[in-house]
């Protein structure tokens, strides 16, 4: 357990649970949460006990309702706002985690909440999940990589519709798009996610880390260097002297 204010960190043997914990405001993402997520994931990355991570939201109504807009516009200048974005690059940190991360979604999955889920490797969702990217209607773009991760995940045409129209999608729409991998009933979402995480945690860790790395790096390369990289990673993870 932990002493954080906006997240809970729970270790169950080799599976770590990171829980967004501001249920009264539908787990809205604020600066405090950014700092605490940053600390938690930095620790998770280093913790040799942890083989797999589940990210979920506390309370009945939401995984995360997005950024806390009451904090917007608090930066003294654009230059400082830009510096701050990269000073504590929590989204880059999430992408750099070598262990598989499972997002267990329910209720509202809005804005940066959905973007956070897109930075995870697998997405399971409860039947009541609702997905919205409302940024264009607020005069802004997603700020946690959504304009980049969504088209990479569900393709450009469908990403265009979600991002340009702000249209809302239910869980079956999301399943149809490949935005989530599996739909489960609401009361079982945490159990299903934890069971899957335990299964992944039981697999040999070297290849698990290697597969994630090969996919994430390879998708950015032309095929030929990507194949070379896969071979190097495979040799590195499976050779007797590795």
């Amino acid at each position: 357990m932990s002493d954080f204010e906006t997240v809970k960190y729970i270790k169950n043997d080799d599976v770590a649970e990171v829980v967004l914990n501001r249920p009264k405001v539908l787990n809205a993402y604020n600066i405090k949460m950014r700092d605490e997520i940053y600390q938690v994931f930095s620790a998770v990355q280093e913790d040799p006990d942890v083989a797999c991570i589940v990210l979920r939201g506390e309370g009945d109504r939401a995984f995360c309702s997005g950024a806390d807009l009451t904090e917007f516009g608090s930066s003294p200048s654009r230059v400082i706002a830009r510096d701050v974005r990269w000073e504590r690059d929590v989204w880059g940190l999430l992408l750099s985690i070598e262990k598989p991360i499972i997002a267990a979604l329910h209720g509202y999955v809005i804005g940066s909440g959905l973007e956070m889920a897109l930075l995870c490797d697998l997405r399971l969702a409860a039947q009541d999940s609702i997905f919205i990217l409302p940024e264009a209607g607020l005069g802004m773009l997603p700020a946690a990589g959504g304009s980049q991760t969504l088209p990479r995940t569900i393709g450009i045409p469908r990403a265009n519709e979600m991002l340009l129209s702000g249209n809302q999608f239910d869980v079956y729409g999301a399943l149809d798009f490949g935005l989530v991998h599996k739909v489960v009933s609401g009361d079982t979402i945490v159990d299903v996610a934890m069971t899957l995480a335990s299964e992944l945690a039981r697999y040999p860790r070297g290849p698990m880390v290697a597969i994630k790395k090969a996919i994430r790096r390879g998708i950015e390369l032309p095929l030929e260097p990507a194949l070379n990289m896969e071979l190097r990673i495979a040799v590195g993870s499976m050779a007797i002297d590795s």
Partner: protein, 261 residues
């Protein structure tokens, strides 16, 4: 404004480009390509327009080129052929628009017609439409973006299938593979496209323009570079009046009123 081959009009911030050659299955020729470039140039300069709808008159969206490639190939020098193809391009004109473009597919989009549809951002189709690149059976290949935009839109597996076999897919299969977003009866297609366009027109116009840039340009970058592009565009948006209006309207629980400033 009325071009010879296109009808162009505007309605509440939405521009409509309608291909108007129903007697020729709305096929593309040099004159239509020229008209398309002119209309696109007007739209990109027109600050009143934030969304574009592309459609056709009649029951066919576009069956391809007026003069099929099979009648031309092997008859022109490389230079002449390249000039000929460039003079007939339409997809590259549409894709140069920074504003979102919705394609209202009132019917079949075949060969060059499908290349044109693929240059749009969102596709809504009639339930009777067929799509495909049958040219391979006659030894021709797409040249207005088809081999690049199709796999980028629907993935490599389906892209290979359609381009290599030349088979046509119906609206139902097109929906399944993500080639179109929505399939509805023909009489409702334009209305649905207009309603989606209106929804996008209510968003902050600079944000939707930047969104399109972030998605399209970002997909050519590594994820890390793409995230930097997104962040920088967001910082620029912080200087806009619309962004402040967006946040204020949310906090005040009212609908925003965007000015495009």
């Amino acid at each position: 404004m009325r071009q010879e081959n296109l009808i162009y009009n505007k309605q509440s911030g939405v521009a409509f480009i309608t291909i108007n050659r129903p007697d020729s299955e709305n096929r593309i020729n040099e004159a239509l390509s020229q008209d398309m470039r002119e209309v696109v140039s007007d739209i990109s300069k027109d600050e009143d327009i934030s969304v574009v709808v592309l459609t056709s008159v009649g029951d066919i969206f576009c069956m391809g080129d007026d003069e099929p490639l099979r009648d031309i190939q092997g008859k022109l020098s490389s230079n002449d052929l390249e000039t000929y193809l460039k003079n007939n391009m339409v997809a590259s004109a549409i894709s140069s628009l920074e504003k979102p473009v919705i394609c209202a597919l009132n019917g079949h989009a075949i060969s060059h017609g499908l290349e044109l549809a693929l240059a749009c951002d969102i596709r809504i189709s009639s339930n009777r439409s067929f799509f495909g690149f049958p040219g391979i059976s006659e030894g021709s290949m797409p040249w207005d973006g088809g081999t690049q935009r199709l796999p980028r839109s629907i993935g490599l597996a389906w892209g290979m299938d359609l381009l290599l076999t030349g088979r046509l897919v119906n609206a139902k299969e097109a929906l399944k593979i993500g080639l179109v977003h929505k399939v509805i009866p023909k009489t409702k297609v334009l209305g649905e496209a207009f309603s989606l366009a209106n929804k996008i027109a209510l968003m902050a116009p600079i944000a939707t323009r930047y969104m399109k840039e972030a998605i399209n340009k970002g997909m050519d970058l590594t994820l890390e570079q793409g995230m930097r592009l997104e962040a920088d565009l967001n910082i620029i948006l912080q200087t806009t009046i619309d962004r402040a209006e967006g946040i204020n309207s949310f906090l005040e629980r009212r609908a925003p009123l965007f000015k495009g400033e």
